[in-house]
């Protein structure tokens, strides 16, 4: 038997409103990480959108802070089975970031400081479904939780909400990111329990 439990697909919990199948409620905020926590000085932070033709649009921290921000309260669901309801964030909507970008791309690859990647369909970033968040619970986002800024895309499992986000590459075809290439689901809808490939 290995040091981690056998998969995350097993037992069912009692039904709680707002809780997807197979999830349990937590009131703390577990820290999951696939590598060292990068410490990014704000004067070196930059977020870059790159289209399928190579056109780039980028913001430094000062420019990013000047963009219109939104306060959102959302439920988050980790593929390791914890869910946290009613979390409060402040960030910039991807609708705002993508407003002036010319692209036909239907897929995106989200990139982070430290090399993490995750794939998200373009339509899942739009229409008020995704933010680049820099505050959690009224405070600056801590590095352990992805600060200075992380993607927040709460309708998908939380591995899609990339910590330490630094850019989005727009792509004509879908490609797997860090966890998707290692067996996790390409889309990751918690309400359909899309944890692993084939789910």
């Amino acid at each position: 038997m290995g040091i981690i439990s056998r998969g995350f697909g097993g037992r069912r919990r009692e039904s709680v409103p707002g809780l997807p199948p197979g999830q349990y409620l937590t009131h703390d905020f577990p820290v999951l990480s696939a590598g060292p926590t990068p410490r990014i000085p704000l004067d070196r932070w930059r977020f870059t959108l790159t289209t399928e033709t190579g056109d780039k649009t980028s913001w430094n921290w000062t420019e990013f802070q000047a963009l219109p921000a939104e306060d959102v309260t959302v439920d988050i669901h980790c593929v390791t089975k914890w869910s946290k309801l009613g979390t409060t964030w402040r960030g910039v909507s991807l609708d705002t970031l993508l407003a002036d970008v010319e692209s036909e791309a239907e897929y995106t690859m989200v990139h982070s400081f430290g090399g993490y990647t995750t794939n998200v369909p373009m339509e899942d970033l739009l229409d008020g479904k995704a933010w680049v968040a820099y505050k959690f619970d009224g405070e600056d986002l801590e590095p352990e939780h992805g600060g200075p800024a992380r993607l927040l895309i709460p309708h998908l499992y939380f591995w899609k909400s990339a910590k330490w986000v630094n850019g989005v590459q727009l792509m004509p075809q879908d490609e797997p990111g860090f966890w998707e290439a290692a067996g996790y689901h390409m889309y990751g809808d918690p309400w359909r329990e899309q944890r692993y490939q084939g789910d």
Partner: protein, 94 residues
Amino acid sequence: MTQPGETGAALDGNAMAGDLREIFAVDVTAARYMCAGCTHTDAVATLMVWAHSPGLVARCPHCSDVVLRVVRAPDKVYLDLRGSVRLEVPLEGS
């Protein structure tokens, strides 16, 4: 050179022995990897392992690139070795 603990890795490569034993008939932690990022080579047991994660992530202690990933689904185990150029497995009795 980085050591487990300095960077947040809680474990070393020995932590993967049980998972890897289910895939291979040999003790892979005794095998030597070659990192695809920096060509550093050492025993799999010396890799830095992040386990508080949706899978096991083993990184090179020399350059911190990912050398291998293990993901357990309920009915299968995925092993991603793209960060390793090769594994050198000692033969029994040699």
